[in-house]
Symmetry: C2
Subunit: 294 residues, 2 copies
Amino acid sequence: MDIKDYIKAVAAEVDAALERFLPSAERMPQNLHKAMRYSVFAGGKRVRPVLAMAACDAVGGERQYVLAAACAIEMIHTYSLIHDDLPAMDDDDFRRGQPTNHKVFGEANAILAGDALLTEAFVLLANDSVDIDPEIRRQVIQIIARASGSAGMVGGQVVDMESEGKAIDLPLLEYIHIHKTGALIRASIEVGALLGGADKEQLASLSRFGELAGLAFQIADDILDVTASQEDLGKDAGSDEARGKATYVSLLGLPQARQRADELRGLALESLNGFDVSAEPLRQIMKFIIERNS
Amino acid sequence: MDIKDYIKAVAAEVDAALERFLPSAERMPQNLHKAMRYSVFAGGKRVRPVLAMAACDAVGGERQYVLAAACAIEMIHTYSLIHDDLPAMDDDDFRRGQPTNHKVFGEANAILAGDALLTEAFVLLANDSVDIDPEIRRQVIQIIARASGSAGMVGGQVVDMESEGKAIDLPLLEYIHIHKTGALIRASIEVGALLGGADKEQLASLSRFGELAGLAFQIADDILDVTASQEDLGKDAGSDEARGKATYVSLLGLPQARQRADELRGLALESLNGFDVSAEPLRQIMKFIIERNS
């Protein structure tokens, strides 16, 4: 299995599903639906849906049960990017090489498109067109909501903003990453496992994998910010530094940051020891993301 | 029964529950939790939770099953007010006589406090501490999410913003109100009924009541905007007109707007004909809100 083909295939499946699940741009209010679709289809790599599907594969589950939740997570991830880019937040004009949502649709519409994507994610999670055990469905909604709220993604974003331009230490940096990006990555894996029929032990192992992988991806991202060119990133390279943002690289230096990413990758792979070849996609994704970025 | 006492009692019950359900302001990130609590406890009248409880009463249900959903709806309502008040939206400095969220906590924190309230509402809805039939729970989440998203509240807000300063007709004005405020009011009543154990016929009647009541409340609100003083409102009286917002009063004139509110009140009360004295709270709330406002 070539992991690039695997990622490409899952991403295509998710894109097609998002096309169906998102409200049509023909339907009123058209501008809102256009704004929602603009950012959802702005070239995201679908990392979270791919991880959810790979976790489902790891426990031998059927992907059809994961598809809606994977798309809901991608919608939540997209809303968070739209709001992060707003003038009152990071004030970014470009994301993945394209103008940010508020540059195209205006600030008010960007706020509302984010609000709508977050809300429609829960419409999708509560949709009963696929037959999912109701108690599992409740757990899935709970995991995703918790990972996205004040004890997860939003909480991390608040602390990240508060820390800009300040000297912070490693524990606070880890708090930010575990909450801001780690929580939803871990939730993607947990949800994929749950909907794939994981037992308690499998769920615990995959949850641990998700925790370690989330942090490893973030360190790799910090490394990429200083080593890649603007063209590679679709945004300004070195933008974290310019913004006075603490990163693993600024706190640890490049060699130590690389070492920490490698360490976490090793621990993450260890947590998959109880799985056979079915967890190969998860293992390969882990290696692929770290190697691409560092 | 004095309806004012009924409303006061339910509001107190909801306030106490919100106090428990919302993340503590002592917990990190403190600023986020303070901002969330600031707006939730800024003097809201708890109209939606009261309607949910009254709908539960109408079908002889037990209120303990409705409390979390009623609080979740109030959290969603509060998030919508925080975002509506933002500089990029209505740019309001005061709400209910107090500085708006972004005036106190800054724009970025206000956006994130809104995001977190919306998300934590779903954390609460997915919480299993109260024993609710899982299929009913799914329906409750679906109803609330749909009423809040692009086919409901957010959709109405987008069209409302797009229509500012433009000549709009009555059908478009009704579209705005049915979506922007009507959808969540109707959802409150449906959810209260469902969690109270309503059968299909009862649910349909109460849903119809919610639809008519939601519109009637909005017309009453439009009337209040021109007839009340600034002191009564806690915001600038006549602010709709100053902002070039079309209202029932600007489109129909004051006497006709009053007649339409009366008509809708009559139809709403009619939809409760199949209910005995148990629906008295709903009937009285209807009368109370319309009379206070017109």
